[in-house]
């Protein structure tokens, strides 16, 4: 394998280090939450999303849902923010 590598450097394999980094960041965010020493990632995300949207639109805090799906290959973060009707008008009024 190493001899092979020596002569086939024109076709490098894709770098795997960035994948390692991504996987670790997601995993450790989860595990730190489980340990209870760091705030739960989802709770933190929910709070910050709520704060960011609330600066522009008045909304019901209960209508902000942040969910994480853990899959075998990938995990997804689902953010569901329900906005009240006529929020565009209140935005226009605010600006």
């Amino acid at each position: 394998m190493s001899m092979f590598r020596l002569f086939s450097s024109s076709r490098p394999e894709p770098a795997t280090a960035p994948i390692a980094r991504e996987r670790l960041q997601i995993l450790l965010a989860h595990e730190r939450g489980m340990r209870g020493q760091q705030p739960d990632l989802l709770l933190l995300l929910r709070e910050e999303i709520l704060a960011a949207v609330s600066r522009h639109v008045a909304l019901d805090p209960d209508k902000v849902i942040v969910r994480m799906e853990r899959g075998k290959d990938i995990s997804t973060l689902e953010v569901d923010v329900e906005l009240p009707n006529g929020f565009e008008r209140s935005l226009a009024a605010a600006s």
């Binding site: 190493s2 001899m3 590598r5 020596l6 490098p12 394999e13 894709p14 770098a15 795997t16 280090a17 960035p18 390692a20 980094r21 996987r23 670790l24 960041q25 995993l27 450790l28 595990e31 730190r32 340990r35 020493q37």
Partner: protein, 270 residues
């Protein structure tokens, strides 16, 4: 007053014992009076790496239980008069190590040494807990590899919650020591980057020790790499890390890949 350092990692085989021996010897070479303490009850190896395996009479458990006095159990290094080893027990039950007993021995040693280095066993069980329990500072040995980084994160969590310092509302000062760093793999993008590790673990870097045959050769002959081949890349990296522990500011050198012809040989050998 002595400083108590724990050398820990969570994961096994990352280089805790090698690093304890190398840094312990380097501290002694810097004129400090140093004791290295093996906490790996049942699987002791620090004695072997230091070449003192045939001189062990009493051990940590003997001292904890009062069977032997501390000066009887401490083994003075034959090369460095400032370096002492307190070996672990190879046979006794690890339950014999009590928190209170370890506390007494460490407190006793604090009066007689500048540095006490506690070589932690792998894992997060009792032995690892006791090794870190009385630490003022921690060296977290991490390999640039996902499982090692994850375990280091876990250990950092324990250092921040289960040590005497943490329980008093103080902080154990933490340092990351990256070992078995392979420049060739780093250049190919196969190894998680140092910046990434430090960002993920949010802990400052003490040093980067390159993967090297010199480390293996040193342990073969029972001599810390900082003594056995002081001019080698890993020995210089350990010496620099030790100076940083002593408060010096040194530039952090990232081990580079050998160039040209050297590279060809290095790859072939790998």
């Amino acid at each position: 007053m002595a400083k108590v350092l724990v050398v820990t990692s969570g994961k096994g085989g990352v280089g805790k014992t090698t690093s304890t021996a190398a840094i312990g010897a380097a501290l002694a070479q810097n004129g400090k009076k140093v004791a290295v303490v093996d906490f790996d009850v049942g699987l002791r190896n620090l004695d072997l790496v230091l070449g003192a395996e045939r001189r062990v009479v009493f051990d940590l458990i003997n001292v904890v239980q009062g069977v032997a006095k501390l000066p009887q159990a401490l083994i003075r290094d034959k090369r460095l008069e400032n370096l002492w080893l307190l070996p672990a027990s190879q046979t006794r039950d690890k339950e014999a190590l009590t928190e209170e007993g370890v506390g007494r021995v460490i407190a006793d040693m604090r009066n007689n040494f500048d540095f006490i280095l506690c070589d932690s066993p792998a894992g997060i069980e009792r032995g690892a807990m006791l090794a870190m329990r009385y630490a003022d500072e921690a060296i977290i040995v991490t390999n640039p590899e996902v499982s090692s980084v994850r375990d280091s994160d876990r250990i950092i969590g324990m250092l921040d919650s289960k040590t005497v310092k943490a329980e008093k509302g103080e902080q154990v000062e933490k340092h990351i020591l990256i070992t078995r760093y392979d420049p060739a793999r780093a250049a190919r993008g196969e190894m998680i980057g140092i910046d990434d590790i430090l960002e993920i673990l949010a802990t400052p870097l003490l040093g980067i020790i390159p993967e090297s045959q010199d480390v293996l050769r040193a342990s073969n002959v029972g001599s810390p790499v900082t003594l056995n081949s002081p001019a080698s890349a890993p020995a210089r990296a350990y010496a620099d890390a030790t100076k940083r522990l002593l408060g010096e500011t040194l530039p952090m050198l990232v081990p580079a890949e050998p160039k040209g012809l050297m590279k060809l040989f290095a790859r072939r050998a790998a």
